[in-house]
Symmetry: C2
Subunit: 126 residues, 2 copies
């Protein structure tokens, strides 16, 4: 499996919280700001985007390294930025491309929405 030079976090900047008024800045943008700040000096790259189509369960972020599974999280807020960066570093060190359960920040256990495999993935015992 190939590994990218940098683990990557994608943060949806258009996410708002369900049922909350449409305030600016959007909670997603605040999460992106906080995650960028948390990632400084860590080697984790943060990309802002619109959108991850997880709109009813936002704010949302995804993470991957080349060759890893991609993980989508929802229901986040700016206070989870450090956990996202810690998770991305954990994923970057996983030789099987799977985000480990052990050592995973608690918030990334509770807020997982979905994961998708790398393109070349084939289940060993389908």
């Amino acid at each position: 499996m190939s590994q990218a030079s940098s683990p990557m976090i994608y943060v949806c900047i258009t996410c708002r919280r369900a049922g909350e008024p449409d305030a600016e800045p959007r909670p997603g943008a605040l999460l992106a700001d906080a995650t960028e700040q948390a990632a400084v000096g860590t080697g984790v790259e943060v990309r802002r985007l619109r959108c991850l189509a997880n709109c009813t369960r936002g704010p949302s972020a995804a993470m991957r390294c080349n060759g890893s599974w991609t993980y989508v999280f929802g229901g986040l807020d700016a206070g989870n930025a450090d956990a996202l960066v810690a998770g991305a570093k954990l994923l970057a060190g996983a030789s099987d491309g799977i985000l480990p359960w052990r050592g995973r920040p608690e918030i990334l256990k509770r807020t997982l929405i979905a994961r998708v495999p790398p393109s070349d993935f084939i289940e060993s015992e389908p």
Copy 2:
């Protein structure tokens, strides 16, 4: 953007329906069977896997072509196999890697869980 030779559908074979007894075969396995059948002769490749971590909103499937966004759907059943294959073909023909809204099977409008960008994606106006 690169395009794979085949559009790909990943079907989670461990998915059961929320609140239903743990019957075998699993609804996810039945969806995989039906999708494999629907894909015969279409050029769409179907891969069975466990799992997409969308367990509370299953049965689940994902689709992508190399270079496209990856789309995760939930709440599916075996009757949606043709729609999955039609969606994968639609995605394969999308030069921007985005599954078009127009022409998208209705079930793939209502059951989208999340989407994630290709690895090289950078938002044009972040």
